[in-house]
């Protein structure tokens, strides 16, 4: 068995090929909402979009949000997702105050940081393997309006990114950088640094956006995204003159891809791979340099490449991905063995530098790599429900 929420994980952590899945789409009720303290308890199938539609008009926001609002609370917990404010707020799990776990033997465990705390740690980031999460309680954060004050800085290479980040991080709640993965040589790692804070003086437009406004009706032909089209896009995007400071609506700021339903179809029938790794701070510059160089040389265009520095806040889960360091996220059109071998090369660099790869976005890491990235798996294993498994788990634990 495996619980299945919105199916937004990029790889196979949400799949259970040949097994049974337990969809949570009918578990979408709110259970308790303390409007004064900002504490919300809801069934695990409730999506972040539904949470925002409820709490934003009351002056609350998610303490941590990933780049899409179309994920369920259960999924956000099981993957211990993170957002652009990791350096301040830590991961999603840091703001979970309680949840209920159903075990296949009928036992129901209410888990909090104090009560059943070992189950709490195993289940946050536990990829749904410890049992069925039926409800989740989260702590929200107060906001005064729906806008984000955004400032964009251009950086010419990786080193500039790092020093820019050091100087800006303390003043900005949200930070993330887009990089041009095809730039080489001196321009290697050039990109745009986007910093944001909740705006404090906007009264405009208090509408939540609950549905995509555009749709990608069919798959694009495979040739649309190639190194030339992506290079052209990247150069234009990097060079595009823009206002340095702007006040932007929260939805466009946090969830740009949510505007287009089925945006993944842009990658055509063969789809794409996501790769997200984190490298410890002391080794980050040199290994990211190596990775970006490897990618640029391969000519395999990554359309959306993102850099972000994680903070020191320890993630609560045994298998949580976020840890101190720099994280790089890429998506790559699936070109078969060529792409897989490039990703294997990136894995080698990550392994060699004591980094880790994010299971929620993975579809191909080896069992050996997983073991190195997540040494806690030995402890974690004791908490797996005997009736629960996933395609991902069977892939990374063949001999375990």
């Amino acid at each position: 068995m495996l619980a299945y929420g919105q199916g937004r994980s990029y790889g196979d952590v949400c799949l259970n090929n040949g097994g049974v899945i337990l969809p949570t789409e009918n578990l979408q009720r709110f259970i308790q909402f303390d409007r004064d303290k900002g504490i919300l308890r809801a069934e695990a199938g409730v999506t972040l979009a539904q949470v925002l539609a409820l709490v934003m008009p009351q002056g609350w926001f998610l303490a941590v949000t990933p780049g899409t609002k179309f994920v369920s609370l259960g999924g956000a917990l099981a993957n211990d997702v993170h957002g652009k404010n990791h350096h301040r707020a830590g991961s999603f799990g840091c703001h979970v105050s309680a949840f209920e776990l159903h075990r296949s033997d009928g036992e129901r465990l209410v888990c909090t940081p104090k009560q059943n705390s070992d189950w709490f740690r195993a289940t946050i980031g536990g990829l749904g393997l410890t049992g069925f999460i039926s409800w989740v309680e989260i702590k929200l954060k107060p906001i005064s309006n729906f806008y984000i004050n955004q400032q964009i800085y251009r950086f010419a290479n990786l080193q500039e990114f790092l020093s820019l980040n050091d100087s800006l991080e303390a003043n900005w709640e949200y930070t993330v950088a887009w990089i041009d993965c095809l730039a080489r040589g001196k321009k290697l790692g050039r990109g745009l640094y986007m910093a944001g804070n909740h705006s404090d003086n906007s009264t405009a437009d208090r509408q939540t956006i609950d549905q995509p406004s555009l749709n990608m009706p069919v798959e694009a032909p495979g040739f649309v995204l190639n190194r030339f089209s992506v290079r052209a896009f990247n150069t234009l995007y990097y060079r595009k003159p823009r206002k340095n400071i702007s006040n932007v609506h929260y939805d466009g700021y946090f969830y740009p891809l949510d505007k287009i339903a089925h945006w993944n179809r842009m990658y055509g029938k063969r789809g794409f791979f996501q790769y997200q790794c984190v490298i410890p701070p002391d080794k980050a510059e040199q290994s990211l340099h190596q990775m970006l160089d490897t990618i640029a040389r391969s000519g395999q265009a990554s359309f959306l490449s993102v850099l972000k520095k994680f903070g020191e806040n320890p993630a609560p889960g045994l298998l949580s991905f976020p840890r101190p360091g720099i994280t790089l996220a890429l998506d790559m059109p699936n070109r078969g063995p060529k792409t897989l071998s490039l990703l294997d090369q990136l894995d080698k660099i990550t392994m060699h530098n004591s980094g880790a790869v994010y299971p929620a976005k993975d579809a191909r890491m080896s069992a050996q790599a997983f073991e190195i990235y997540y040494p806690e798996w030995q402890t974690f294993r004791q908490y797996i429900d005997p009736e629960f498994s996933s395609s991902f788990w069977r892939r990374v634990s063949p001999a375990k």
Binding site: N26, R29, F30, I31, Q32, L54
Partner: protein, 245 residues
């Protein structure tokens, strides 16, 4: 504030319908068999902004209890602005064919008990000279087909009943809305393989809300079922009887 009576409130479509309106501070009277599930829904609706939620657990196929139920609803919420009748059962056609008892039970659930409730509620609304009686029928009632004609019979008879009722109440300012959904992905249809034509309960719920606002009489949901059923109705019987639909 609107007063809304929902019969079969734990049905997936009804629950979404209630959720979508909750932000408008509505008052609800909810009826279904399962008290615990009603309580969950009531908590959810209150968090979403519902003014008041009254839950009543009973089996709606017991027609003898309909009069006290309607009386209680009127006593507790007063004027009834919207009624949504959403309960039903998709019986096993093959089992019905070999059991008269089962056939009659399905007809009672999907048709007779609904007619009983509609009759009582129609009289209340006729007296208040306002309100909307929205009843979920089905595209299955548009033509008898071998695969589910017991369900189809119940929904077809219900559709005709509602047509007559609409004719009677039109002069009194009461809206009678016949809702004909196609394939909806709900617990009732959990055993079906879902294809292109299937939609979510939320999709249907939004369609119902819109149809009530626009004071429609009959609505196919999603809209394209009107044309699918038109084609199905146009096939000559001589040919139709040989098809396996």
């Amino acid at each position: 504030m609107k007063n809304i009576l929902i019969l079969g409130a734990t049905s997936a479509i009804a629950e979404k319908f209630a959720q979508n309106l909750a932000r408008q501070n509505c008052r609800y009277y909810l009826v279904s068999r399962n008290q615990a599930r009603l309580d969950n829904i009531a908590d959810d609706l209150k968090i979403r902004g519902a003014g008041e939620v009254i839950c009543h657990a009973m089996d709606l196929t017991e027609t003898a209890k309909h009069e006290p139920l309607v009386q209680d609803a009127v006593n507790k919420i007063g004027k009834i602005d919207v009624v949504l009748i959403a309960y039903g059962s998709l019986g096993d056609q093959a089992a019905c064919e070999s059991s008269v008892e089962l056939t009659l039970r399905e007809l009672n659930t999907n048709c007779l008990s609904v007619i009983s409730l509609s009759t009582l509620l129609a009289n209340v609304m006729e007296k208040q000279a306002s309100g909307c009686l929205a009843v979920i029928s089905s595209v299955a009632g548009d033509r008898g087909r071998q695969s589910n004609y017991i369900y189809g019979t119940a929904k077809g008879a219900l559709t005709i009943f509602l047509q007559g009722l609409r004719n009677r109440l039109a002069k009194k300012g009461v809206q009678v809305l016949t809702i004909k959904p196609g394939f909806v992905d709900t617990p009732m249809t959990k055993d079906f393989n879902k294809g292109l034509l299937w939609v979510s309960p939320d999709n249907i719920a939004r369609g119902i809300e819109k149809a009530i606002q626009r004071r429609k009489d009959v609505v196919y949901l999603p809209f394209f079922w009107r044309y699918i059923m038109l084609i199905i109705k146009l096939i000559p019987e001589r040919l139709f009887k040989k098809l396996s639909l």
